[in-house]
Symmetry: C2
Subunit: 116 residues, 2 copies
């Protein structure tokens, strides 16, 4: 931490792109570029870094949370389609629970901030 409060304060949730990816994939299988497009709607302003997105997707696959296959026969560049596994679905549930706890902590903070 070089100079706290020096750059804009954003209060982002750590690794939020991970649950966001899992949630999108829980709705339907998709490829990376598609997810990159859909992520900002979920994460707010926070755009996900392209490079890191693909790394996260492969890491998720290594952990058996998603599976992938190359989409054949379509026009344009080849697409790697990702699909959520049941393990991945369980991790998404864990993230949701953790986010609820996180929200409670934020509420506590704001309540105390507002002087109650």
């Amino acid at each position: 931490m070089v100079r706290p409060g020096h750059w804009g304060v954003r209060a982002r949730v750590e690794r939020f792109s991970e649950p966001a990816l899992l949630l999108l994939l829980s709705e339907r299988p998709a490829h990376g570029y598609e997810l990159l497009d859909a992520l900002p709607a979920l994460t707010g302003e926070a755009r996900v870094d392209m490079g890191n997105l693909y790394r996260v997707l492969r890491a998720l696959e290594e952990d058996g949370l998603v599976t992938s296959r190359w989409e054949a026969g379509e026009p344009g560049p080849a697409k790697r389609i990702y699909e959520l596994t049941t393990t991945g679905r369980r991790l998404l549930d864990e993230w949701a629970a953790a986010l609820r706890r996180s929200r409670e902590r934020i509420d506590m903070f704001l309540d105390r901030f507002e002087g109650r």
Copy 2:
């Protein structure tokens, strides 16, 4: 990001110790060790690393967000007492606003997760 989802999912807010410190100091001046003790109540399970805490405090001071003085005449080791400045108070306000936005994003995520 080495292996996402491999360790416990905690959904922490980035640099949350910073607004927590500012909030505590907005209530009353305090020294580092005292803040270290009071922080877990604000941040939930997240304990703040001692070493980093003192670094954050000095960084906050460099930015003019807090001031410090050595407490004289007390028994025990010398204490450096920190106090919030008006600039620091403004940063706390910014953090509160950012945390409200963060909470909204979490709400949106959870709403979508719950299938609405």
